[in-house]
Symmetry: C2
Subunit: 323 residues, 2 copies
């Protein structure tokens, strides 16, 4: 159906290899021949078949991007940045969603393996062991998880969590609840360790929770019961859900309880009250991850570790603790 390299070769009176070179190594073919071939190709609507090319070169020029949950607004900016950045390098990014399920994640990686040159693993739920095993088959870069010997992009969660807690204590909050995330989450662990290390804080751990509004909504009663006046939520969705749940129970934010989220998603800015949150450089992380991955694909891969800075955005969901 579609024109192949042979059609073009025939129609322009040269050998297929010349056509091939016209596209993949133009400097090797005579300028005149090249323009003629290109004209014919254009005419026939010929486009090189990437899959066939991949067969001989071993490069698909595709990247896989695996996320736990595409409907978590944390990911889209990362995905978009990664896609846009990859496109400038003539790579395409295929996105897949694991539904927070490690098994699906593993299966997805397996099938992706042969179709991409590398995989961006964002906030994986798989164990480090499993990731290391899978790594034999295809280059990875891991985002939001520390895996030894693998290129990694981290956002400085500890620093962000530290800022959040200092902010809360600075407002006079002494009893602080930490709403943790899914059990496989590295971010959640980092937050916990930071909070646990903070002095002068009476820490309550609530969770693990689903990293969604529902997750926050569900623990509102528990938060109230805990007696905490400050809350650091696993992410903005959880924070928003929690605030809604508190509101339904007549608890005011920030008058009664202060809430800090993590991620700085758009919805946080439109929430009422506007959310105080730890901003994550997701777009930068997406671009950086692509860079590291391509580098790793080409050079065989140094296990670079990039840590991106986070910051605290103070809005309206936090305030002075009651006396």
């Amino acid at each position: 159906m579609a024109a192949t390299i042979r059609d073009v070769a025939q129609a322009s009176g040269v050998h297929v290899s010349t056509v091939s070179r016209t596209f993949s190594a133009p400097h090797l073919v005579n300028a005149e021949t090249r323009t003629r071939v290109l004209a014919v190709a254009e005419d026939l609507g010929y486009r090189p078949n990437r899959a066939a090319r991949a067969l001989t070169t071993g490069r698909t020029h595709n990247l896989g991007l695996i996320v736990a949950d595409i409907s978590n607004p944390f990911f889209p900016p990362l995905i978009k940045a990664a896609q846009a950045h990859a496109r400038t390098r003539d790579y395409h990014v295929f996105v897949a969603d694991t539904d927070e399920d490690p098994l699906v994640e593993e299966e997805l990686i397996q099938t992706l393996t042969k179709q991409v040159d590398g995989v961006l693993l964002c906030s994986p739920r798989l164990s480090n062991r499993a990731i290391e095993r899978l790594h034999a088959d295809v280059p990875f870069v891991v985002v939001n998880r520390r895996v030894k010997g693998m290129p990694t992009v981290l956002m400085d969660v500890r620093y962000g969590a530290r800022l959040a807690i200092d902010h809360l204590t600075g407002l006079g909050h002494r009893r602080i609840a930490l709403l943790s995330g899914p059990s496989g989450s590295w971010t959640s662990k980092e937050m916990y360790e930071t909070a646990a290390a903070a002095g002068g804080v009476d820490l309550v751990i609530i969770g693990p929770n689903a990293p969604t509004e529902e997750g926050g909504l569900a623990v509102a009663a528990e938060v109230i019961a805990s007696g905490a006046t400050g809350v650091l939520a696993y992410n903005d969705l959880v924070a928003i859900g929690l605030i809604e749940g508190l509101y339904e129970r007549g608890v005011q934010v920030p008058a009664d309880i202060s809430v800090v989220g993590v991620d700085d998603i758009v919805a946080g800015r439109l929430n009422r009250p506007k959310l105080t949150t730890v901003a994550m450089p997701t777009a930068a992380a997406g671009r950086m991850a692509v860079d590291l991955l391509l580098q790793s694909v080409d050079d065989g891969g140094a296990a670079t570790l990039a840590t991106l800075a986070t910051s605290l955005v103070v809005r309206e969901s936090t305030g002075q603790a009651r006396a």
Copy 2:
């Protein structure tokens, strides 16, 4: 590096064709041989190379899914449903984001063409003409747009819009503002035509608008100035943004102005006030689209048109018009 079919053939003492059949036509090979081959394959960690297979079969077992904006919460449920459904058919779905840009959309389709068996085009921004032209290269199914001669999945926007407007007029609203969407949007056009056809309504069109919170936020002043007491927004995001904008200007929803959204995204349920909205069957649409696409890939494609029912979900953002 990785084991190929030839390695397996050699190691199990059969011809490559037998190995091939073991995987793609097991009933053609002796049970005993099959188990032996499978064991060896397992042992060597062999997995059929899908790209190579695609070369001869012409089937990649991949589907492309193109959306205008992955960060619009309308899409993720559709994407997830499509991915999950496709997986049950041994197909994989690759998602790509066009950033609302028709040019990127076209380019994306072009590159996807050879790597997938078909493309799900969701809420395209391309012209019908362009879509029809591209259709020569790869099977499509279009979601949220009516394109002649092409398998199509529609959600009954007219009916939904009709319900919304009847709801508003039923509450005594006479002057109604319609916040339209992006200019290429079919949904927006449908909404407009429905609203225009509704009798006894004083209609104000505001737009086109970006289909985001920002889009709604930006026209709050204009809505107030229009004197409308009821608003039908292009989608929930626009509605939420608008409500926020109205709130900032001291206008109460629904006391002063009633707002209806479209899509029924999760955030609408957590907004304050909770959003009255036209529910769109996005997950069902995703599954249906995959079904139609696979059917079209196999059978060469009947241009089925599936229209999915919509409904109105009344919550708190609408109320009686002031006298």
